[in-house]
Symmetry: C2
Amino acid sequence: MAMSRPTNRRPENHKIDWHLPAISCSASAHNMSRELFVLTYGALVAQLCKDHEADEDVNKYLDQMGYNIGVRLVEDFLARSSIKKCRSYNETADIIAKIAFKMYLGITPSVICSKESGNEFSLVLDKNPLVDFVEDLPVGRSSLCYSNLLCGVIRGALEMINLPADVQFIQDRLKGGDVTEIGITFLRKTDDKKHRRNK
Amino acid sequence: MAMSRPTNRRPENHKIDWHLPAISCSASAHNMSRELFVLTYGALVAQLCKDHEADEDVNKYLDQMGYNIGVRLVEDFLARSSIKKCRSYNETADIIAKIAFKMYLGITPSVICSKESGNEFSLVLDKNPLVDFVEDLPVGRSSLCYSNLLCGVIRGALEMINLPADVQFIQDRLKGGDVTEIGITFLRKTDDKKHRRNK
């Protein structure tokens, strides 16, 4: 399927530098309420569960689909948020939570830096809108990461700006967790020269 | 998969009467920008195309998924729009275009009453956000109704408020149409007493 970039909001040099968040989200013209999205996402997960017996396969497909979406979405994000560079992983994690999540899902997770190494973060969602209409995981699907698309989206978007990362659910309310928590581990060490040049 | 109704916005008596659109959309807390939805929808269509060879089958599944979504979404819509009753098919079509499309997709199609019978309407979309990132139909998929989920959503929502209707694409820009046009044919005649009682 030929998918095009929206030509009217192509950012310049988005792969090179992003620095100092000049937070001016021109989002209003693009807004919708998220219930249609949440229900459509439910239909996608149900379809994948129909197609694949193993939860691990469904999780993998959701992550891969998310990755492909993130690769495209990052361009839209950089164009609309006017963000140029990030100085640190800390700032990057903050921008994901406070600008990207707000823009695309209408929520703002809190950010926790989980290790002294400074490259591991958690996004903690008090409420996960993707499961608004979901009471339980489907029967026999106890290993399903229902919202795994989100991890893929974050991973794909970060990779496009030269910040490879592992992204996965650490806690999930659907699995009895107190909150929903997404872990992001940036794979380059912060003193990596190449990373410094590109981040 | 157990899907729940969001308990905090359950409308009362929504199946009985809806009359006089008191248009107060309390949508802000639910807002997101639609790019993530549009790309996720693209992933869903791609998945269905992978699963089913015949375009007609993909169209049917999209319509059916949409129907299931519409059946659930109508409750959210009635609760948030505060709409109680519609006096006529004309008013119903107007509400779909001016309130529901605005709320869930951020666009407002124009409405054309296409026949004197008063039960056939067209929603004309100058711009269809669902195809924002789509340049062409996939190769060999010339009969695909890419956005067919929308027809199902409208059909499902209308059926839940006792207004059965045929809903389908009449024109589609992806198929060379000048605009994108969704046709809605209400199946009960306007002088049908049962319909009058219930609409």
